[in-house]
Symmetry: C2
């Protein structure tokens, strides 16, 4: 067990931004709220999944909705707590542990806020190892944890409890429909699981990973070292592309920020153009020639070319100089079972095969083996 | 207190059809389900509102969704019961009485099914005195009963509980969004109120009224008397128009059956055309010249010209010979407070003033004083 201090919050927020792969919401709101609570005397404890008792009562808490909306319409700050309390009331039991649903983006720091508010420890792990736009994309759901009972709450304190829904896709549809009616952004508490279920289904040690990524970035900045190399040294993966943002097409559809962005290559990539499709998160990176450089669930991360500061879908704009990183997804996301839910076809790319980054870069010397759209 | 037998169910279903003013769903599904439960030995008790103790715990139960959908997709039959049990679990208390949300249409007989399933008595009264398309149009909400906690359930047993929502319009938006996701038809349980609140807010004795309307229709049919005159003798009101349906324009919009139907006059009305606008329920009846004959919340009821059988929006079709009845709304719906929620402007008719039927027919001899669209 370790305690999060303000410096750790800063590191985790940076790491969570990288792991957010362009989406997941901005971790800084939660980082600031949690930091304020720490300054007021609260504590935030992190516990390794292997140290969680089998009979623990674990719940995931965080925010739901489009990141574009959640920047425009600041959360009140206690929506996840209100949802958690409603769920406890519904169950007639108190939770013993919190776990992030997704380590990427705002749902890394949102549980820290609830931890500071309640004193409950946060488990060092999550259900995505990155960020994804929909609930059923959590390893909890993929591995059979029941999605309900579940609760959401809005900034006015409105509460909706869902129960007896067997599949996470259905919960996702219902909860998103209400979230849109609630103004586009809610706090959630679900799924409920035992400590044993948590250990079977979570991707472990991802808060530590975010912490180490953020730490590496900050250390590199302080020493004027290569911050991008520092990220890759901790997270693994490759530099996919360096370029300047020349076009951003972003629209709000069904509660999601969807679109594409185009980069004009610089340096070694000066002759190339790269297009990245996103649905909150970056999903697929391909060149103007149709070569696929990386595919969801592998992580496609935009970072500032100088500072390695993560660049999210909601703030990306013309003229930014960025590097695109490709980081292999955790193995739990690369099983056949998981790929059916988080692979390219699940996002509508039925003609794009998932080829793992390690495969794409299987040239022995780490060089890129280009794959044409439609498979190898 | 009285008990409902199969003959009473038949009468109430006919009366509820008339009071449904074209919408409210078909009362026959509930009538058949309740009848089957009666045949299996269940009982259904009706209690007058004045006999309900002040500290009773009352809940309204019924079905939510488009009547067009609920004919196409038969309810499983226990959705309102599932919603009621979820709400009891949420409250940690058991209900003592049921009350129909609306006496018009299917929500007259839906509580009878729950009564037969649970043994709870049904209160002789309701929240509309007719049918309306939206939740906030109940006198319970208009008179300040809190709309939540509330629960809805779908045919697969999925449950959604809403809490801490202060206004019924917001609950209506959230619950309808989920109902649409659930396939268009759900069972509901809400609002929760004490016996004292029930007595302050309900429109009393409306199940008895439906029973007497149905009884009058059946007696007239049996004796070859004028069934339409029999309805008017019990319910009050006027024959507005007699005609043949020549046009029906019906579309499903946002979970509602909206549209218009046109009648070519017959008999005394042979020279006229009548248009009736509906949103599930009939809202406004006006001649081709723009004369308004009746306006919501007054009841505009289509019945078969021979048998007085109610003709609903979902089954009305070209060639039917019908009589249009205008029945004055209960006084609770004609206050300034209520008209803001259930008057013509609430349905988008901002240029139509509400003129009570008694005013429209104020010619002393009961003759119609024609009003032009836009006011007297």
């Amino acid at each position: 067990m370790w305690s999060v201090d303000d410096a750790a919050l800063e590191r985790i927020a940076i790491g969570a931004g990288v792991l957010g792969t362009g989406g997941g919401g901005n971790p800084y709101l939660g980082r600031l709220m949690a930091g304020r609570l720490l300054a007021e005397g609260a504590t935030i404890s992190i516990v390794a999944p292997e140290d969680v008792p089998d009979d623990a009562l674990v719940v995931s808490v965080g925010g739901m909705g489009s990141p574009t909306v959640s920047i425009e319409r600041l959360r009140r700050g206690d929506e996840p707590l209100v949802a958690l309390r409603a769920l406890e009331r519904h169950l007639g039991r108190r939770f013993t542990h919190l776990v992030p649903g997704e380590v990427g983006g705002s749902n890394s720091t949102a549980p820290m806020v609830v931890a500071a508010q309640t004193g409950l420890p946060v488990i060092d792990g999550d259900g995505m190892g990155r960020a994804f736009p929909e609930l059923q994309m959590e390893t909890f759901a993929i591995s059979g944890v029941r999605p309900t009972p579940a609760a959401i709450a809005d900034p006015r304190g409105h509460v909706v409890v869902f129960d007896n829904i067997a599949d996470a896709q259905t919960l996702e549809r219902y909860a998103r429909a209400v979230t849109i009616q609630m103004g586009g952004s809610t706090g959630y508490a679900f799924p409920v699981m035992t400590g044993a279920e948590l250990k079977r289904t979570a991707i472990p040690h991802t808060l530590s990973l975010a912490d180490r990524i953020g730490g590496a970035v900050l250390a590199a900045r302080a020493t004027h070292a290569d911050a991008i190399a520092a990220v890759l040294a901790v997270a693994g993966g490759h530099r996919l592309f360096a370029g300047k943002v020349v076009d951003v097409n972003r629209r709000l559809e069904g509660g999601f920020a969807r679109g594409e962005l185009r980069l004009q290559g610089t340096g070694d990539d000066a002759d190339s153009m790269l297009t990245i499709d996103f649905q909150n998160e970056n999903l697929i990176a391909r060149t103007a020639d149709g070569d696929v450089l990386a595919v969801v669930p592998d992580l496609i991360c935009l970072v500032d070319a100088e500072t390695a500061e993560p660049v999210t879908t909601e703030v990306v704009r013309y003229g930014l100089r960025v590097v695109v990183l490709g980081i292999p997804a955790p193995e739990q996301l690369r099983t056949a079972e998981a790929l059916a839910v988080v692979g390219p076809a699940a996002f509508g790319y039925v003609d794009v095969a998932y080829v793992p980054l390690s495969g794409l870069y299987g040239g022995g010397d780490g060089s890129l083996i280009r794959h044409r759209l439609g498979g190898p």
